[in-house]
């Protein structure tokens, strides 16, 4: 009998070819899939592979997504994107998605992820894959080059931190608020070298896209990654996108597995939260800062522009107009999200309210693309990070909130509680 294990320990043990692993063990794992993007990908790994004089270990296990510098805004970004295309061609990478959306979203939409996989991503929000029940974590370019060369990577087995949610989420609160709460309690870096496993009744009834937001923002906790045990909701999601997968029953923590710690949260008293500059952990209830004026409201990023996020924004914006002096920028997380939101009327609602449609990509989130801020400007954003200068000028200020709260601020011209908009909407 192998020792009782957490979900992550089971996946790591499988990838390492071992019966079981313990936190602290340093193991070498076979990588099931490697994902990289235009910023940290080919332009950084190609020189290393050349130096090593090796090719890609298995082109079918590599996915490349151009999302950071799309669409090109100058000669430099055009050159980076062109380099990605050339590299994918010469390395026979068929799984290349050019300007189709943000990597973490594209990876799931295109059925690359299955429960129990061990995946590395060349981006810090790679934990998003945990929503499918993968152990997926972010690595830098040299680590990625080593994976491409050998098909394996080392890992120090992390402890598992259980984050347990019970109670029902109220109107106008969502996964983003849950994570801002977790950031406030744990602090940025509060889960460093640990994996966060989300458990409990609230999680069990949460839609798949909302689970993606939870796992995505474990990056802000400094976690190795985030993960959720795949269940019927996962299975339904995977079937809906045509993923063929094996039985799910194996991929859960044993009842007597050792968790480093289990933190308990109550969803029923959760309020809409806002993280004030310059840290996702500077969290306060929206009503504490509801006079803060905003110049820009941004619905974007892998964290906050999935189909569900657009639905939330539309629920608030329906029948309203963006305030004078405020610009509401909308960058759906993928072209598929744009297309579905067009078909179901969501996009129309958002555009009627005055939203400005932007390309699908990282854009303003990381200050790489269109929509950056100038000196002293204030932005409320559905993204995951509000570090100083991230979205533009070092004197700009970014407030993080849910799509509901971002949409409400766009209407009011200042930060405000989104719930009154939803109460009138349901009348």
């Amino acid at each position: 009998m192998s020792r009782p294990s957490t979900l992550s320990e089971k996946i790591i043990a499988r990838a390492a070819g071992l019966e079981s692993v313990r936190p602290g063990d340093v193991v070498t794992c076979q990588v099931d899939l490697a994902m990289m993007h235009d910023s940290g990908g080919p332009r950084r790994v190609a020189p290393v592979l050349e130096k090593l004089n090796v090719g890609v270990w298995d082109p079918d296990r590599v996915v490349v997504v151009s999302d950071h510098y799309v669409p090109a805004v100058d000669a430099e970004s055009a050159k980076i994107l062109d380099g990605v295309r050339t590299w994918c061609r010469s390395h026979k990478i068929e799984n290349f998605h050019d300007m189709q959306g943000i990597c973490h979203i594209v990876l799931q939409e295109h059925s690359y992820l299955k429960p129990g996989m061990f995946v590395v991503g060349g981006d810090s929000h790679s934990p998003t894959g945990g929503a499918v029940g993968c152990f997926m974590f972010g690595v830098g370019a040299t680590d990625m080059a080593a994976v491409l060369a050998t098909g394996e990577t080392w890992l120090q087995v992390p402890e598992t931190l259980g984050v347990r949610w019970h109670g029902q989420l109220g109107l106008g609160v969502c996964a983003k608020d849950m994570m801002l709460k977790a950031c406030a309690v744990l602090g940025v870096g509060g889960a460093t070298n640990r994996v966060v496993e989300f458990v409990g009744p609230t999680i069990e009834s949460l839609p798949h896209v909302e689970r993606m937001t939870l796992c995505n923002m474990t990056a802000e906790l400094g976690a190795q990654t985030g993960i959720i045990s795949p269940d019927q909701i996962t299975a339904k999601y995977l079937r809906s996108i045509g993923t063929v997968f094996d039985e799910l029953t194996d991929w859960r923590s044993d009842p007597d597995a050792t968790f480093d710690e289990i933190l308990e949260f109550d969803a029923s008293d959760l309020q809409p939260l806002v993280a004030v500059p310059h840290s996702p952990a500077n969290t306060t209830p929206v009503n504490n800062i509801d006079t803060t004026k905003v110049h820009q409201a941004y619905i974007g990023a892998c964290t906050g522009a999935k189909l569900n996020d657009l639905h939330m924004a539309a629920a608030v914006l329906h029948g309203h107009r963006v305030a004078k002096g405020v610009r509401l920028l909308l960058a759906p997380a993928s072209v598929q999200v744009t297309s579905t939101a067009t078909a179901d009327g969501t996009l129309g609602t958002l555009l009627d309210a005055g939203a400005i449609l932007m390309p699908s990509g990282c854009g303003a989130c990381a200050g790489y693309g269109a929509g950056v801020l100038t000196d002293g400007e204030v932005c409320i954003s559905s993204t995951a990070r509000n570090f100083r200068g991230r979205m533009g000028s070092v004197s700009s200020k970014v407030y993080l909130a849910s799509p509901y709260t971002v949409a409400a601020a766009a209407i009011a011209g200042h930060i405000t509680d989104p719930r009154p908009f939803l109460e009138t909407a349901t009348l």
Binding site: V26, S39, G40, R44, V48, K51, L52, V54, Y69, D74, E76, S77, I80, G122, D123, S124, S126, G138, V139, G140, A141, T142, D143, A145, A146, A149, T150, W154, Q156, V188, G189, T192, N193, A219, G222, A223, Q224, S279, A366, G367, Y368, V372, R385, F387, R388, G389, R390, G392, V394
Partner: protein, 168 residues
Amino acid sequence: MKSHRVWLLGNDIDTDVLAPGAFMKGSIEELSKHCLEAIEPGFAEKVKTGDVIVAGQNFGAGSSREQAALVLKLLGIEAIIAQSFGGIFFRNAFNIALPLFTVKSIQGISAGDQLTIDIETSQILNQNTGQKVIAETLPVHLVSIVRSGGLIPHLQNRLAQQQKHHPQ
């Protein structure tokens, strides 16, 4: 033993202040000129080869961009001593042979102090105060990566070994 001048920084020094997004498109040399400018103006001009950074918790939090570690290395930073590090930054730094030392407390270390660091024993000695700090012991494989000059030379050695054992 060589002594190193200290740059003292606070908690949560993130990858966006180390490698600002606006300059990520260009060369690493250009990017390095903007390293830490948001919180420590003039850092890139004033830092000298052999200097070290001493910081609080969660140094290198945020993005997976390896440039955050590369710019420090390029500017001549020889080691970073902090109470904790962002997980991806931790791997990135060792992969490019920039050693990191985790210590319980940084109290008693001031900006401009001169430190000596013994990688073998993880012992840090403050020349100005005589204070000794022992950092957490590094996993053996990380020490061997730094000794090889980073992950790539380390891999080159390994691939060469494999060649020797299994000539094609």
